[in-house]
Symmetry: C2
Subunit: 346 residues, 2 copies
DNA sequence: ATTAGCACTCTTGCCTTGAGAGTGCTAATC
DNA sequence: GATTAGCACTCTCAAGGCAAGAGTGCTAAT
């Protein structure tokens, strides 16, 4: 479809445009790269590339700019697979290291790191897992009539819930209740716990109350964990020249901020093994609604293991993006986060 | 200092400018408000107000715009104390209600709600407290050589830490260790726990290891909790006409994002009882560094009780801001969050 | 097939021009 | 003495014109 030389020129146009954010002209190319042909030849080739839909004109007489199709060809055929520079790898590992054992906000941290390294906006979702299982429960007295229910779930997750006690109870009584309940429910899902609560006839009212709350809390975790996504690094998008007027950015933000995020980017939809690149409007989720999104690309990857517990990591930036660098970063981060997740998973 | 009529005019100029974001001229005022005087008189008064520093000219022949001093006078003397409309109160209470007992991200939620209600950026810090106290500790087996240490602290806070065990241990052994350790350290601070670990000679190596980790984790909480701040709603600032070009916003974001936030806004410095208003450059923390920040105002309030556990809530927006509404919202939210905090506090 | 040359197009910056809005001042008025 | 009408002046903003610069597209020569 494309001759050797056309590919070469397309490659140069893409790289140059990514660097400068300017349309690139035939003369500037021949000056900068020793192609062995004149600007006129390059012009002819460019016209041909435009004919075929890989390049475009912003105005009749400006340089050429890659089209969506051009970027796609570049990503698929021209761009080399780059390994992430050791220095960047170091940066990533180092920042995760500061977490030590306390995992707390590691997903959030992942998003921050990613945004920082690729200099674009980043999205990371918490691992979506199969129904969570209870490892341990504990009751801690807050005051006479309130206690804190602490649930330790798989993957080293913690949940808390304040319980108003129908009758006053001391810490000793609470501990005894917890100890008694722990054994029968260990390792079970919310659904299974509901079954246990039904079958066991010998429960005291307090025990029944606690089990009910355990179950509803775990259900909330099962439903809620899908929504837990972190978006970081919008400031990098602000710094891009194509988003110089903030109306554009505002549009993007409205599309992304919290609730809408999953609707805008098909996070779970296509994250298979490896890294997926969505360029411009070939995002399946986008109708005609999103002007600004049409000028963006999304790099998607996933971490964890598919059936067990996995999350999505994504980079969002203007279509004019450093694809090799971004893709290798996503791939590397996916590995790091997979390793990290494995540590918390039996 | 200012005559009745001058005050009236200043009031109108501020309100009109806040509404329209345009300089306001003498004619438009007399057309809209029945002042009983002609535009020429208004012009004279405006000239006088400018003389005294309350108003300014963007250009020689545009309408008047309030100066910092003008806004300050408005806030202090002209603006009425408005109670937050019941509808907004309802919105706030309603959203907090959805948390139920799981407090998890309530500080973050507070920031989101605030940003949404005042249509500006909002900052909320987690309550800064005196040294945290341990209420309960628990050990849960992850696998043969790793366990999850769960700490329940005061104010219903949970911390987790993965512990690599020097020797393999079953869940039963871990529970026994936890049970043994719980009693002597209950209610103590990190510092006091260090003392206990030193004095008690009869500890096994594992127990000593656990206590060490407990102490260091709690120290981390003591130090880290000051930094826990949430920033939400930058999109509202993007929507303001004074921040139409994103370079401005970028500057702001760099000033605010994460680490720098506390350096930019004197969060803990001046949050006494009640609500503090910082208008433009009278922010004590700002040197000459921050162009964009000079055009902003900050409304500060605090929640919780001063000596015990308190956090800061703040709104950041352009100087051209709906002060009455914003101030009453901050005040109201402070009350709601104080109530909420009291629930978790003995 | 490649290239040199040239006319053509389109942007960008700069200037001018006219309309519109608002001020500041002076002189007249209540 | 305060208020107001009137008017010249200033400044912005949008539109139009003009020259420079960059790049293209085409044609004819190599």
């Amino acid at each position: 479809m494309l001759t050797e030389r056309q590919s070469r020129i397309l490659d140069i146009v893409v790289r140059e445009h990514v660097d400068t954010a300017q349309p690139v002209g035939s003369q500037s190319i021949t000056r900068k790269y020793r192609l062995g042909v004149s600007s006129a030849t390059v012009r002819n080739e460019m016209a041909e590339l435009e004919e075929q839909g890989f390049l475009g004109h912003p105005h009749t007489s400006a340089g050429r700019v890659p089209t969506e199709q051009g970027y796609r060809f570049y990503v698929e055929w021209l761009m080399g697979e780059e390994e992430l520079p050791a220095e960047a790898q170091e940066t990533i590992r180092h920042q995760f290291h500061q977490l030590e054992g306390g995992q707390e906000g590691w997903v959030h941290l992942g998003a921050s790191i990613l945004a920082q390294v690729v200099e674009n906006a980043a999205v990371v979702t918490a691992p979506r897992t199969t129904a969570c299982r209870l490892k341990h429960l504990e009751l801690v007295s807050l005051n006479d009539t309130a206690a804190l229910l602490v649930l330790v779930l798989d993957q080293a997750r913690l949940k808390q819930q304040v319980v108003s006690l129908d009758a006053a109870a001391t810490q000793e009584e609470l501990s005894a209740t917890a100890a008694k309940l722990n054994h029968p429910v260990e390792g079970l899902t919310a659904h299974e716990i509901a079954g246990v609560a039904e079958r066991a006839a010998i429960l005291t009212p307090v025990e029944r109350q606690v089990l009910d709350i355990v179950e509803s809390t775990m259900r909330a975790v099962d439903e809620g964990s899908a929504d837990e996504t972190y978006l970081e690094g919008i400031r990098h998008i602000l710094a891009q020249p194509e988003f110089a007027d903030s109306a554009r950015v505002l549009e993007l933000l409205d599309l992304l901020d919290q609730g809408n995020l999953a609707r805008t980017i098909p996070l779970h939809a296509l994250a298979q093994e490896g890294v997926t690149v969505i360029i411009g409007a070939d995002n399946p989720r986008l109708g005609s609604a999103s002007e600004a999104m049409r000028e963006c690309s999304v790099i998607l990857g996933s971490y964890g293991s598919q059936g067990v517990a996995s999350g999505v990591i994504a980079v969002l930036g203007p279509m004019r993006m450093r694809y090799p660098r971004t893709i290798s970063t996503v791939r590397y981060l996916a590995n790091v986060m997979s390793d990290l997740l494995a540590q918390y998973y039996p």
